[in-house]
């Protein structure tokens, strides 16, 4: 019978698995995790036998949880609910009421898991997803250990844990969380999720660089003038004021998403696609970041907070007027900074990164601006310098990339105009692009860790941002502001304009 499988592609995620979601009745599960698992089911990518067990303070039963999941899928799935597919999917959904921190909090969960796994013939492979506030990470992991849910010494049945960001509030707390998790799980059992890394375009960065001959020879200080990375959010702080006001944009976005993007766009060619080979290369970039310390923070980093303004033509409140935000808050909702990677490849090339809330639109992009052509021939007119070539990678929305080049305008008089060679995932490949969580959840089931953050990278990123946080904690300088709906404060423009460049419009 083995001959039947010979030559066939390996089936995805074939090991039966029990998926345990702590915070199973929460917003993340409702909007992202359950729709993602449903879409994997639609695509035939879930294991043939699977149980999805939500766990949380809610008192709902299995039927209630299935209704909750159905609602999430109907509202947030990229594809509509298919009645037949739903009937098979819902049979794998269960819910257990449990509160971490209470005595024997996981006893009910353990008993239920045993029952479900016995009934469905599951071997006990488990994936624990911590979709809960960071303050509960350590108690939950300790409870998992106390309840003997995890066996470090055997590979089968496996136990894996998925941890959502933020991992820590600073380097010290990140280490504490990592230590606590490491006391229970081995590093290869831990999947620190950064959903940005699951986006198609982010995954395409490596393909773009190392599956094409055209770009990689140019990716160095000899040809690249500068790199810009923007992650812009149109939304305000919304209902997350409680968390966000203690975090701010540097912790919430730069320490994780943006530094991950920096490391992907700047890494050296890996020798293979093995998870640890790629993660080693990413770590090298983080370790090569020139520290921004002391007074350099004032010249290389801009932080700001949004005030009342307009989004899409309509008035919106400022950060301090948002519900749950202290009236004297100095939390930054915007960060722009200039960084350098002190290695041979990127020596002297500035990387400008910015992120913020209540910016004009939701848009994330990496743009690699090449050096300008010499001021001769078509670029001889100092009043009309030619645009530099720019490779822009759109992460969201409208995922794809574009190459800006100069072209002759048709006609006898000529003239040169900047045009775009533009690739759109949506229109090129058709269909709807899988959500990041689909890819990431599938990777965990398959034990593929490339798109997850390793402990050393998380701590290297914290190590780099700590001097900035320390400086801010000591300064009493007024916090710059920007009206909602604008691309940050004037200080951010000055940061880049002082180098003779400007922010690329998005």
């Amino acid at each position: 019978m083995e001959r039947l499988a010979a030559g066939e592609p390996a089936p995805p995620a074939s090991d039966p698995v029990t998926f345990v979601i702590f915070g199973g009745a929460g917003d993340l599960a409702h909007r992202k995790l359950l729709p993602a698992l449903y879409n994997l089911h639609l695509d035939g990518l879930l294991p043939p036998r699977v149980a999805i067990v939500g766990c949380g303070r809610s008192t709902m039963d299995d039927a209630g949880y299935r209704t909750f999941a159905k609602d999430g899928i109907e509202r947030f799935s990229r594809r509509p609910l298919d009645t037949h597919a739903w009937e098979t999917f819902e049979n794998s959904l269960f819910f257990v009421n449990s509160s971490i921190g209470e005595d024997q909090s996981l006893a009910a969960l353990g008993a239920r898991l045993d029952t479900v796994e016995h009934e469905l013939g599951l071997p006990g492979n488990r994936i624990y997803y911590l979709a809960i506030p960071p303050t509960l990470f350590v108690p939950t992991v300790k409870e998992l250990a106390r309840a003997r849910f995890v066996n470090r010494s055997v590979d089968r049945p496996f136990a894996r844990i998925i941890v959502e960001k933020p991992i820590g509030h600073d380097l010290e707390s990140a280490r504490a969380i990592n230590d606590a998790i490491a006391a229970v799980f081995k590093e290869n059992q831990i999947y620190r999720i950064d959903h940005y890394l699951g986006k198609e375009t982010v995954q395409n960065i490596l393909v773009l660089r190392f599956a094409n001959m055209i770009f990689e020879p140019l990716f160095n200080h000899r040809h690249v003038d500068s790199v810009q990375i923007t992650v812009a959010e149109e939304e305000g702080v919304g209902t997350r004021a409680g968390y966000y006001d203690h975090a701010g944009a540097l912790r919430d976005m730069v320490q994780n998403h943006l530094l991950q993007l920096v490391s992907l766009i700047a890494l050296e060619p890996p020798r293979s696609l093995d998870a640890d080979v790629i993660r080693d290369k990413k770590l090298e970039v983080l370790q090569s970041l020139r520290p921004i310390e002391g007074d350099a923070v004032a010249t290389c980093v801009v932080r700001a907070q949004y005030t009342a303004g307009f989004i899409l033509g309509e008035p919106v409140p400022g950060y301090l007027e948002e519900k749950g935000v202290p009236p004297n808050s100095r939390t930054e909702t915007f960060v722009a900074l200039k960084l350098f990677i002190d290695n041979w490849r990127w020596a002297g090339v500035p990387f400008f990164i910015r992120t913020g809330k209540r910016l004009p639109k939701r848009a994330s992009e990496i743009s690699v601006q090449l050096k300008r052509v010499p001021p001769i021939l078509f670029n001889a007119n100092p009043h009309a310098p030619l645009d530099a070539n720019v490779l822009s990678i759109r992460i969201q929305p409208d995922e794809g990339f574009a190459l800006g080049i100069c072209s002759k305008i048709p006609g006898p008089r000529g003239g040169v105009y900047p045009v775009q060679m533009d690739f759109h995932y949506g229109s090129t490949f058709g269909g709807s692009t899988p959500e990041a969580y689909e890819r990431l959840l599938l990777d965990v089931m398959e034990g593929e860790a490339t798109l997850f953050m390793r402990r050393d990278a998380v701590e290297a990123a914290w190590q780099w941002v700590m001097p900035i946080l320390d400086y801010w904690s000591k300064t009493t300088a007024p916090l710059p502001t920007y009206p909602a709906g604008e691309w940050g404060p004037p200080e951010a423009n000055r940061l880049i304009e002082s180098t003779g460049r400007e922010w690329r419009p998005l």
């Binding site: 149109e234 303004g309 307009f310 989004i311 899409l312 033509g313 309509e314 008035p315 004009p360 639109k361 848009a363 992009e365 007119n381 009043h383 009309a384 720019v390 822009s392 929305p397 409208d398 574009a402 800006g404 305008i409 003239g415 105009y417 900047p418 045009v419 775009q420 949506g426 229109s427 709906g485 604008e486 691309w487 690329r504 419009p505 998005l506």
Partner: protein, 326 residues
């Protein structure tokens, strides 16, 4: 020459769903057959709601030659409640020989919010990687452009032929001397400037404004002033000095005429809108043809040119000095 319109498709939308609705529209059009999504720039048109029809005439024709994401904001500043209403998305499909079917996308939003809210609409709707050109379709000597909008563009396109008051128009433009200004009327002056350079070769002497006269049709007053400003800037005349200006009867066929000198020695440069003729008794007359292009052709050609036209800026500066001195 504008391509032929095959089809115009418009759909109601809302500000928050414009991108998605546009994608759906393109997908539906693609289902009917191959279509290229043509786009090389953002073309922003802000109009007072009361004037929208006038500016609407040439938009398709312009965009067919300069494929753009056209963002039309009809702004009602009458003081009603602040709301963005009547968002629509559309695709206009064109056919042109040898290039098959292509379409350009248009977004129309009617806003009744404060002036300062308009940039937030443009920032959201513009395609970031592409240049933004602001087309000011109104008489900017009467309705000056809003700074917050103009500053978002890389280029400000207008037609000074619409100006009812040249002085006010020149002064209104002064704050944007750092932008790429593109005046369709300046384009009309190109052949005349060539002819004047030709005429200058006839006479090696210095040209002084006191010995010169510019006559023009009433409708081409701004063209005549641009000619005067150009001469002043090229010949380094002092601030207040410009040739005498004279208005011709509207029924004649002379658009603009420059006369240099007196009596039989006069050099004449005269445009009838089709040719520019240079005449002097000592030489055979020279004739320069004027390209015949419609308003849309001219605007599209100006949109193609993103360069900073130093000659136009110098001419405007000279006129600004003249009007300031006066």
């Amino acid at each position: 020459m504008a391509a032929a319109v095959i089809e115009r498709v418009w759909r109601a939308s809302s500000p928050a769903t414009i991108e998605r609705d546009l994608s759906d529209l393109w997908r539906d059009l693609a289902a009917k057959g191959p279509i290229a999504r043509a786009i090389m720039a953002n073309l922003v048109i802000v109009r007072a709601a009361r004037l929208e029809r006038r500016a609407g005439v040439a938009i398709d024709a312009v965009a067919s030659q300069h494929p753009s994401r056209v963002i039309i904001i009809d702004h009602d500043s009458s003081g009603g409640p602040c709301e963005v209403r009547n968002a629509r998305v559309g695709v206009v499909t064109f056919a042109a020989a040898g290039t098959g079917r292509y379409g350009i996308e248009q977004i129309a939003v009617r806003s009744a919010c404060a002036d300062e809210s308009i940039p937030s609409l443009i920032r959201r709707l513009a395609r970031g990687a592409l240049p933004i050109s602001v087309w000011w379709a109104e008489d900017l000597s009467q309705v000056p452009p809003r700074a917050s909008i103009v500053e978002m563009g890389r280029q400000l396109v207008y037609d000074s032929r619409q100006w009812s008051d040249v002085r006010k128009g020149v002064i209104a433009l002064e704050p944007w001397s750092h932008l790429d200004l593109a005046d369709v009327n300046w384009r009309r002056l190109a052949a005349i400037r060539r002819a004047v350079i030709l005429a200058a070769a006839v006479d090696n002497g210095e040209w002084h404004p006191a010995g010169m006269r510019i006559a023009h049709r009433p409708a081409d007053r701004a063209l005549a002033w641009l000619l005067a400003g150009w001469l002043a800037s090229r010949l380094n005349w002092s601030a207040g000095a410009l040739p005498a200006m004279e208005e011709l009867p509207p029924e004649g066929d002379t658009v603009v005429e420059l006369s240099v000198g007196r009596g039989a020695d006069t050099i004449s440069v005269r445009s009838d809108g089709r040719h520019v003729v240079v005449e002097h008794y000592s030489r055979p007359r020279s004739v320069i043809g004027i390209p015949q292009e419609g308003e849309a052709d001219a605007i599209a050609a100006e949109l193609h040119s993103l360069s900073h036209d130093a000659r136009l800026h110098d001419a405007l500066s000279a006129l600004h000095r003249h009007f300031s001195a006066a």
